[in-house]
Symmetry: C2
Subunit: 357 residues, 2 copies
């Protein structure tokens, strides 16, 4: 008998057929109802155990986190909240979960707690939804560019050049720290390091992507990028994945068209392909909004916001108009810009990191 | 008038229509025939210039490598070797190319020469074909996994762990070389480095991928990986992109099914989508084979080899059978294995690097 994923079973209408599914127990209620998840969907499949015919010792091993193999019959569910369920005919424990030790219990965990249990946090609904969305977004990025004649380029991660002067760099070396050989001037002799010179982790693949665009016409990069700035804010990451398209012969209008079309495509892709995960996060965020004062609540829900982006044309403004907008958009009058970006000719930086002090 | 790519024009049958195309001149014959390429295809579009009505000074600027904008009429070609061509009505130079300095001339260049001109080598037919294939293969890898329920995971590049002990690692640091602070024992105080400990470039995303597979069920990584071994052979790379799938609950047979299905899918994808590039490389390799003695020539051409993989079942052998095969497969009697891998229980390593001395 072929194994099915939870997602396949939830979408199936082949009732009264024998099925087999592997997964992890999310909850086990009343010695009867197993909510089983295998990561294929935010939703669980309900598996109904005939506890009178199951060994007591086996029943006691069915805990949150237990890995099980279940065989049974797919039936229309009589209960609320699901359309199908599995009537269990055989249950095998593949991996035990000790309820005294297993940290991901069916209750609300703080993000701080989950950070300390990073290897298991993906078993929570929130993290699994986010990671499935991240995967779908990454694929949508590739799909968009490939369908529009772009070639994917893997630019070097270890580099001897400092593209853009975009930020502080991590050094990559084969030397032992504090034991590098010196040259005649008493300086570190990087000619003896692995690549024969000082090397760093890349801050941008743009330089190499441009040389490829000058031959292949339309290219994009999508790979890890690094910043060694010691800035522990929510706006800073030491390691992140960046997308950089480069198109030969594009003018500014064509670049703006590309940006807008690209953003809309990837958002539409997850609206089409990750509806369950988005609905879960939409609902979760709506609950959090309710705890805020009325005036601070977001006017649009998550899915509404995404649809708003897809369904509207992007406003295109000149630099001068942008300055005017910045003058008007300070979140409140007490805040000041850290740099004078709201004056014509003032400092202008990529991203939002330096916008507000 | 919308711009078209060379690939679009070559596939078009909209004759007698006005078209516009940008690209780089590959060759310019008899003051009349421009072979134009924009990287969208291995093939050029022939653009026919009416030299009697063009300014002499302009004609002289049309050299190999010159970037041009061409407007004209798409017509059925009268010449051999192409089905369509553009009768040029207007030609604008977007970027000059000095024939005294531009290194990629229409002749055969050695790979060594192209290595020294790496920023321009993608303008050659061979490199552009290889890079378009690489891009298509990368996308096929994503497409295969996404269509089969896998989630893409970006595992950390900078890591404090040594997965598998798979090889020597590059160290990543924010310390200045030879100027790191010491602790009370006179050792380098890595607690003061960027991440508060000694960190390296990853040799494998497997450890993190496994934790994700234990929650999302089916995951894959596809990202850069590093080896700091100072081994300058054709089998060693300091930086390379690696694919690592991890599936919860898979047994060995399921893993072998996955490997075979995956390999066949990505090869079939390029056979279907990169026929022109493969035909070019097939032809190029066939020419090289002809220069070899009859006995050393490959029996199958490139495309035949790829079809052979797709159209046949993979042989699955036990470890014991593999040892027997290794005993029989030494390429010639003079060669010996560097390690005793052709004896039961002998050293076994990942990849082919240590197979032959």
């Amino acid at each position: 008998m072929n194994k099915s994923s939870v997602k396949e079973l939830l979408q199936s209408d082949k009732f009264l057929q024998e099925v087999q599914v592997n997964g992890w127990v999310r909850t086990f209620r009343g010695n009867r109802f197993i909510a089983l998840n295998d990561g294929s969907s935010i939703n669980n499949i309900q598996c109904v155990v005939d506890f009178e015919n199951l060994d007591d010792a086996l029943l006691k091993r069915i805990n949150t986190g237990t890995a099980v193999n279940i065989k049974g019959t797919l039936v229309e569910s009589q209960g609320k909240g699901q359309s199908v369920e599995v009537q269990v005919s055989e249950l095998n424990i593949l991996g035990d979960s000790n309820p005294e030790e297993y940290p991901i219990q069916p209750k609300k965990h703080s993000l701080e707690f989950l950070r300390k249990n990073a290897h298991l946090r993906i078993r929570t609904s929130t993290f699994s939804a986010v990671m499935r969305l991240r995967s779908a977004l990454a694929f949508a990025i590739h799909k968009y560019f490939q369908e529009n004649g772009f070639n994917y380029v893997h630019t070097p991660i270890i580099t001897g050049s400092d593209a853009e002067g975009a930020g502080e760099m991590f050094r990559v070396t084969n030397f032992k720290q504090n034991q590098a050989p010196l040259n005649d001037n008493g300086e570190v002799d990087f000619s003896q390091d692995f690549f024969g010179k000082e090397t760093n982790l890349t801050v941008s693949g743009q330089l190499e992507a441009e040389t490829y665009a000058m031959a292949l016409g339309k290219v994009y990069t999508f790979g890890p990028t690094f910043r060694a700035e010691n800035s522990n804010t929510t706006r800073h990451l030491a390691e992140f994945w960046m997308v950089e398209p480069e198109v030969a012969f594009n003018d500014l209008d064509a670049n703006m068209d590309l940006s807008e079309d690209f953003i809309k495509f990837v958002i539409q892709y997850v609206l089409d392909n990750c509806a369950d995960d988005l609905a879960f996060l939409d609902n979760r965020l709506a609950q959090e909004e309710k705890s805020k004062p009325q005036a601070e609540r977001s006017k649009l829900g998550l899915i509404e916001k995404l649809k708003f982006v897809v369904e509207n044309n992007f406003k295109r403004v000149s630099y001068t108009e942008a300055i005017d907008i910045l003058r008007d958009c300070k979140p409140n009058k007490k805040k000041k810009f850290q740099f004078l970006i709201d004056e014509w000719g003032g400092r202008f930086t990529i991203g939002t990191r330096t916008l507000f002090s």
